[in-house]
Symmetry: C2
Subunit: 221 residues, 2 copies
Amino acid sequence: MRISELAERSGVPLPTVKYYLREGLLMPGVATSATSATYDDTHLRRLALVRALAAQGLPLEKIKTVVDLVDHPRDDLFTELGRAIAALPPYVGDPAGPDFPRARRLLERLGQMYDPRFAAVAQLEHALAALEAGGLRMGDRRTDTYGRHVLAIAEVDLELLPTHSREATVEAAVLGTALYEPVLTAMRRLAHQHLAARMFGNGEPAAPGGEPDRPDQQEQQ
Amino acid sequence: MRISELAERSGVPLPTVKYYLREGLLMPGVATSATSATYDDTHLRRLALVRALAAQGLPLEKIKTVVDLVDHPRDDLFTELGRAIAALPPYVGDPAGPDFPRARRLLERLGQMYDPRFAAVAQLEHALAALEAGGLRMGDRRTDTYGRHVLAIAEVDLELLPTHSREATVEAAVLGTALYEPVLTAMRRLAHQHLAARMFGNGEPAAPGGEPDRPDQQEQQ
């Protein structure tokens, strides 16, 4: 397809598509003349990836890191995945020295392998330090429960990862990490509401900010 | 304690403490003279709450909403909790009409009670729409697995909620919602690493961004 059709089908404005081409976020099309080129589904998929990462708040330079890793594999798949995931937010500093004592304690309790240089270790340390600053402490019972169920979630994530090509695997792993996180946190809030309605309420969902009511779709179940 | 000691013990600068007092984020102390007042542990706890919410990126007006709900209960606890949680980010618009079709489908499949006006329904809809924009689709197998395990996590959250006072319950629910979300998402990334090291690697954690190595603490397990 021509670049104008690529822009139209992807929903990305033409000047933005050209900008992504110049910045190397989108791979060049196949030249059909000195001034035009043709594009295909790989370009559409790439635009979806770039847009999804941008919508997650990734700055262009981080998107470029991810895209480079997808396009130019340099290491084994596992190392590449680690680098790509490290390009995702949150970008935390080093909150409590290089030792990550809280994250280490949690991971050792769960018996999980980890590499202390993996960005998620610093992210976990930062999150646990923020809990403490808020006067909360993550006890063993919560640690064990979270650990068990998060592992089950991660298992299905890996099981559903496409494996037909290295590029597809890295792409899906990065997107899946970034895009399922808000799904999970919204689902947890809704699970709280579901459970709280049973505990505190009369079995019906009460209405935050209004009169309690029973939505139609509940009737139909 | 005096206000200077409150500032010192809480780690919040004195001018900020005074600002929080003026804005109503911190409740007044007990006056001991025309120009001084005394503060206690409830003030320390409140400062920890305000700081923790601010660190999560909540603007002051949203923190004030939460604090007002804690201080001035107007409704049943369940409705109050809904309002307080709605003050937390992410603040999403209405991404796909008022119907939230994706979120409804998911919640109905899981058989969960929900109120469509609860902010988390819009958050879930937004997150699912972002998945689609990225070319991903949440299938039934992933929905069911996430649903089951997120519910188990939410159960321990509610079980561990303090119930000795209404104020403590609302405070802990709001803080627990906000502060455990980054813990969960970091734990998921680390669970991926743990599983991927077993799948792709040689049983040792490979090193993203460096030579594979085996950290000392792994040896000690």
